[in-house]
Symmetry: C4
Subunit: 263 residues, 4 copies
């Protein structure tokens, strides 16, 4: 009984299991859209009761599903404290909390993270490997990204303070934190325009910051790109020829490309 | 007779065929410019009748061309339901529909897609191969791009809701969909500035979103770049095995990697 | 006599030649700054006569230099119609034209292109090779960039027209050309915010355009990057081992890395 | 005695040394936050004396630390004029200068550069190598970046002047320097929107500038990426020739490429 439940809820290989996952994804999608629409004043005023009913129905269903998941696994605690277990709980909690504290309700959109379960439906080797390669590239370049972020942080604090000293409060540079916010907006090339330098010196420094931002953007791209290219290649070649023991063969190789021996 | 028509309309190797294609491209370009100008109120009021006449002349010509294409091919249905067949039909339909429904007329700019026919005029090996390499790189990285888009979607929904809870409606964050719209505007570094965070907490989260956007932009670039570099290399290996006639060997291969035969 | 002049003006290997080039670069830089400052109303009103005198002095010097260049070369016509010859003429012409037509004077900033002459001073193998590698990568990817620009043009026209039909003139989408302008501003992630979608449907389409822009930016980067990496590598390896005739050696190789034979 | 001090202050291998560095980093972080908060008018008015006390305590501590550093090293002058020595001095100077000159106080945020000392705590081979690889890639591509910046500068001056001639002062293009500022804002895809073209011709040229910016951004990315990938690969080949002990061989090398000896 429990095993059958497990097969349906946690796996997507059987017909019933796949159907369960597809229905679940649609339920998540619809419930997110409902939570979003509720935040639009005009809609929530016109269809107040309908939205309430739909939202509680979904929360009821997701609570049932959460209980079923706990029943289905052999070690419930391990599931409860796993990444998806916590997300599953967090996606039903806000609705219940909304009974006592107002405003927390919108937090139910955290269930959008559950959409990542789509990977199970698409449980095709290619998708999993695609996600893995991506993940691998990001992990491999993690250290370099930390180094990069620290350097950017120092740069942003120093440049932000300089702009605070150069520019006037009238232009929006009222404090150092605000100037740092502006520097990040400029360096990342977002450029809202709510704060913009007015003096000649400020505009000159702003131009330099933009050019720096333009050059800096190349760094993370270069890092991830190179790491990605490397992880991409390394997943292909692992086997060595038993004859000449040379490596570097493609995944679909059946014979050694250097000596012609059977792999 | 039909074969001659086919040579002129569908091919660009003969002098007549190339001339036909060049005239067609200019006709498309001019007709797009006319449709664009018609949408400018001051111009459409001053030259109303002239624009009408030009537009109907082009529609008449393109209709003639469409009929000629149907006559020229042996299997008309296959052409009608092909990519270019549908585009050809869609580029004349809006003008006729404009007789009954107003406003649909502007849709004729869909004929701009026909400009991609320029490839036929430039039917030089290099251009075709350039387009193919590009296409190949995009198809190969399609799965990874889907994975990437799903992760970005979840991120954007969660961050957008957080901003909705942190920021006030006065700053423009009036509903979750609108906050999600703002998050996309910020994450992609577009940054209109029509909606901008006002609170300290909101500006801090915005800064984090920008830095994330800055890091995330590296991912698609890395993916396409690596895929592109790979497809670029694979075009080098053109030799087929004389034994099993399979292709896809590396440049430094001395033996077929599928059957072990000497290359 | 003429040869000596040629050595000084056109070469930078001798001491006099280098001095000439350094003085010339400073003269260009100062004259550009003067033209720029003249365009600032407050400055040009206060120092009107001083700026006039400086500007005419520089023009006189550059005219002398232009005549000296014509005298120094054996085939004056070849120099006059060369890239730098035309730029040299264009940088003195606007000042003279300014006597008859007002407003053309600012065009003298075209002399900023002459700053590229800095390459001659830095005539170090590494700089020249750096520029060449860059140039080579851009030329090699030219075809792919044309293909890319044509596809972007079609996309921008179709999306711009859709936005024109969806959005209201009040939001700034008053005509198709203006909507296309907005689409380019959004797709390139510039995002001024002078025109911004107001309707829900418009903001949804705008979000999609931004995500597309985010994905598209990967394409030129991938193209140039791959091409650059290729040209970077291909400049290294050209020689084949005379013993085993295998290629792929580094530039600094003295012995074949496969068989150990002298290269 | 001095050696013990040196171990604690300059090294992070011992327990005491690591503790010192962690405390120092937290002190730097807190003191930066205090300087930032002081610039916010509402906070500095409410907690004026508290902030003053905290700031002077930190300055006192950092001065002690600076003196300790001078005592700890054998060659004090070498430390004083080293990169970190100057930064250490600059991070305490502004507070003392603030006694005589107002406004210079905020400059103490320069101590944020000291945060880069985090590398010593994380003195793990991987972090150091990550920073080195990054640094190496940037140095190797320095020449190409200079060439790139010169070309961009010429482009920006010429395009900025063109926009000044095309657009009206009402749209914000009041002088050439200001137009150049706008061109940089647009070319780097920052796009504040404080200055935006109004005429049809101006918007057309702006569109072209954006597309150019879109294409240009590929260049630094390509440069750093390729350089990074290269430096990344060269770190793989660590074996030295047993014969001539020169390094830099490829992974697939079987013979030394400099002397031909067997590896």
């Amino acid at each position: 009984m429990r095993e059958k439940l497990h097969t349906i809820i946690f796996e997507a290989d059987t017909k019933a299991g796949k159907l369960f996952d597809v229905i679940l994804l649609w339920a998540i999608l619809i419930s997110i859209v409902v939570v979003m629409l509720e935040s639009v004043v005009s809609i929530s005023e016109a269809y107040n009761s309908e939205i309430k009913i739909i939202e509680w129905s979904f929360t009821f269903l997701f609570t049932l599903e959460y209980i079923a998941r706990i029943i289905a696994v052999k070690k419930p605690l391990k599931y409860i404290f796993s990444f998806y277990g916590i997300i599953d709980l967090l996606s039903i909690l806000p609705t219940f909390l909304g009974l006592f504290i107002s405003g927390t309700h919108s937090l139910s959109v955290i269930r959008s993270i559950r959409l990542l379960r789509i990977f199970r439906i698409l449980k095709l080797a290619r998708y999993v490997s695609a996600a893995q390669t991506l993940n691998q590239a990001l992990i491999a370049s993690k250290n370099k990204i930390i180094v990069f972020l620290f350097a950017v942080m120092s740069l942003v604090i120093v440049l932000g303070t300089l702009m605070y000293l150069i520019e006037t409060p009238e232009a929006g540079f009222t404090s150092i934190p605000r100037s740092i916010y502006w520097t990040i907006v400029t360096l990342t090339t977002v450029g809202y325009g709510d704060i913009a330098p007015q003096t000649v010196l400020g505009q000159t420094l702003a131009s330099i910051i933009m050019i720096i931002g333009y050059a800096i953007i190349a760094v993370p791209t270069g890092i991830v790109g190179a790491e990605y290219a490397k992880s991409n290649t390394s997943t292909i070649s692992t086997q060595a020829c038993p004859n000449c023991s040379r490596e570097g063969h493609d995944d679909d190789s059946e014979f050694c490309k250097f000596c012609g021996g059977k792999l």
